[in-house]
């Protein structure tokens, strides 16, 4: 999977590395600010209130 992405990125090793990093950071931000907050509400993790 990661090899497949790597081969499709343009440029040399340095440029590809930078692009991979940007992709990883983008995915991490997406998870942290959108996916996780959504999941926190919809998954039953310590989410039992009282009354």
């Amino acid at each position: 999977m990661y090899g497949w992405i790597w081969r499709r990125l343009p440029g040399g090793t340095g440029a590809r590395l930078a692009q991979m990093t940007i992709l990883a950071v983008a995915v991490a931000l997406l998870l942290w600010f959108l996916v996780y907050p959504w999941a926190a509400i919809h998954l039953p993790v310590d989410q039992s209130g009282l009354g």
């Binding site: 991490a28 310590d46 209130g49 009354g51």
Partner: protein
């Protein structure tokens, strides 16, 4: 053919490892991420409370009648030295998820700090700053300070933490474990989820009032 199998296996492995990292990230978010909103709410609560208590405006009436408390309203500061010198949370009224997301919540209908009966407080084990993460480490004799406009109430934990099922609410009644009985003691009950990350059981810690002090941290230093 063999190369093909190897390719699929590698892809499957990469996907599984990635999913593992995503799940670990989710746990990190629950532990630290959800504390950001709670932390800013708590800072606001603490300064609001100090402002209210310092002024001559609202009277003790707020604290002698639970009906005057609106859901989400902070009204007390709780300190438990066993959980750390800096462990302090503003207690809000109500134990619904919107309230617990901002801090430990006072169980509606239970007594207020210092009153005869049971001052019951529920808090998240994980998420929202993990207020009661270490609740099971409390032991008999540990002190719990609850500061309100009327003074600081010093409670002493009376026994080891109890484990009850999530639907057992008898521990929250005025006489813990005996719903309907007439209370004589001034008690405190702290309750959270166990095991962490689940809603299967509840850890319950009970204490009794030992002193009423002038308003202040209660703890030396």
């Amino acid at each position: 053919m063999r190369g093909c199998v190897r390719l699929y296996l590698r892809a499957a492995g990469e996907i599984l490892i990635s999913l593992g990292v995503v799940v670990l990230g989710f746990m990190a978010y629950m532990y630290w991420g959800t504390a950001v909103r709670e932390g800013s709410a708590q800072r606001t609560f603490v300064s609001e409370l100090h402002q209210q208590w310092g002024s001559t405006g609202p009277s003790f009436a707020v604290l002698t009648d639970p009906d005057n408390l609106t859901p989400g309203q902070p009204f007390a500061l709780m300190r438990i030295p066993r959980l750390g010198r800096s462990w302090q949370f503003a207690v809000v009224q109500g134990t619904g998820l919107p309230q617990l997301a901002l801090g430990p919540g006072h169980v509606p209908g239970s007594a207020l700090p210092g009153q005869v009966g049971n001052f019951a407080v529920a808090g998240h084990r994980v998420t929202a700053g993990n207020p009661f993460w270490s609740l099971p480490s409390l032991r008999a004799g540990d002190l719990v300070y609850v500061e309100t406009i009327a003074g600081t109430y010093e409670y002493r934990v009376t026994g080891k933490p109890d484990l009850v099922s999530a639907d057992d609410t008898a521990m929250l009644s005025p006489v813990p474990g005996h719903p309907g009985a007439t209370p004589r003691q001034r008690l405190i009950t702290l309750i959270t989820c166990d095991p962490p990350w689940t809603g299967t059981n509840r850890i319950v810690v009970t204490g009794a009032l030992v002193a009423t002090l002038p308003r202040g941290p209660g703890i030396e230093g």
